[in-house]
């Protein structure tokens, strides 16, 4: 089977517990208080602590590679940021294969929270050996 433009990726739902928001902020070495200190986040007008951008990009990568598998390499990831992803909310990723070239495919991804789209992204991926992976269109367990 070949990867086909229009293929739909299985959705991924992530519960944004404070643990998720804080552990990802610290794992990306982002110590800005709005990502781990609810009192400061609220004092600055936010509803709660929220995901940092480095994590948003990381989760887009994870979402696409969960599906595509380790045979695929990333050439680039573009994200456009929307509403904040607050602790206590749920982040749901969905994606489709937008275009397929000889050894490159573009995957369009949306990550939505209850307030609307948190991120709209596109990832350019290529096969490690310059050919299409046979199972790229199959969801992975």
């Amino acid at each position: 089977m070949q990867v086909v433009a229009g293929s739909v990726l299985p959705p991924l739902t992530i519960e944004l517990t404070p643990t998720v928001v804080i552990s990802t902020a610290l794992a990306t070495r982002d110590f800005t208080p709005v990502h781990h200190d609810p009192a400061i986040a609220k004092a600055q007008g936010s509803k709660d602590i929220f995901l940092n951008i480095l994590t948003t990009v990381g989760l887009v990568e994870r979402y696409v590679s969960d599906w595509a598998g380790p045979e695929v390499l990333f050439r680039g990831i573009k994200v456009k940021l929307g509403v904040p992803a607050y602790a206590g909310d749920t982040l749901t990723f969905s994606g489709t294969v937008a275009t397929v070239e000889e050894d490159e495919a573009v995957i369009e991804v949306t990550g939505a929270v209850s307030l609307g789209p948190h991120v709209t992204a596109s990832a350019v991926i290529m096969h490690r050996f310059g050919e299409l992976p046979a199972d790229l269109a199959k969801p992975r367990a």
Partner: protein, 304 residues
Amino acid sequence: MTDLRDHLMALVDKAVAAGEGPRLAAPHPVNDTMISHWTEAMGDRNPLYTGPEAVAPPAMIQVWSMEGLRREPAAELRRPVDDVFEALDEAGYTGVVATNCEHTYHRYLAMGEKLTSSTRLLDTVGPKRTALGEGYFVTWNVTWYSGDEPVAEMMFRLLKFRPIEKVSREPYPLTPAVNGDTRFFWDGVRQGELRIQKCGACGELRHPPGPVCPSCRSAERTHIVAGGTGTVYSYVVHHHPAVPGRETPFVVAVVELPEGVRMVGNIVQYPIEDVYVGMPVRVTYQEMDDELTLPMWVPTQEEV
């Protein structure tokens, strides 16, 4: 205003012409410990990132150059974009919101690689009117090097905006009727919650609030907190007559909530002529005076 723009654009031109700033060394070489923290936190189980042949997750690129808690005086580490940010802050464009981040990976990184990164300003565009207030979009590029080899790039864009000033604190002349039936709603609005009355007996949601359930006639009541989104079901543009405390024209919309009720409210911070039936909106809370906060509606996606 024009003076500020000229001054700013002169700084922008200078910063753009200066090209790349100093190459700053990443605090740590590419290493498996930071990678494992990252993959655990992200929930990423890609086997490429473990084992003797491991490579770093490409989306980690910016992590390598994060300064962490170490806050050093950045006098000699000043980047070309810093003058532009300073000028914007001084002019009152103190708000910041990131809008775009684009990574390009030239190759994957192996354990032990020592990286440096360098920033250059690409452009600055404005002033633009946005939902958050007037602002400038500032775009820069970071290149990461391993030795002298560029291994990754990032384009980053943010909006520096002048937060919309709170209007004068004279009491707003129109106040809603707050009573035993409706107090929960107005209390919620003050706390940033959009509450919908729920029948305590049959569970039906109703809005506007009232004393008795129209379905089962129970006087038991409670409420839920709405998600805060909706779509424009219908709207009018109010031109006349004049309304105390308000500037005409303004939009009065019936917003349909996914929870199943409809609410009347203003659509704000958006060009009137661009409002349409079916437009996705989300709630925002406008402080009218020291006492009163009104729920209003803005488009879900900021127009940038």
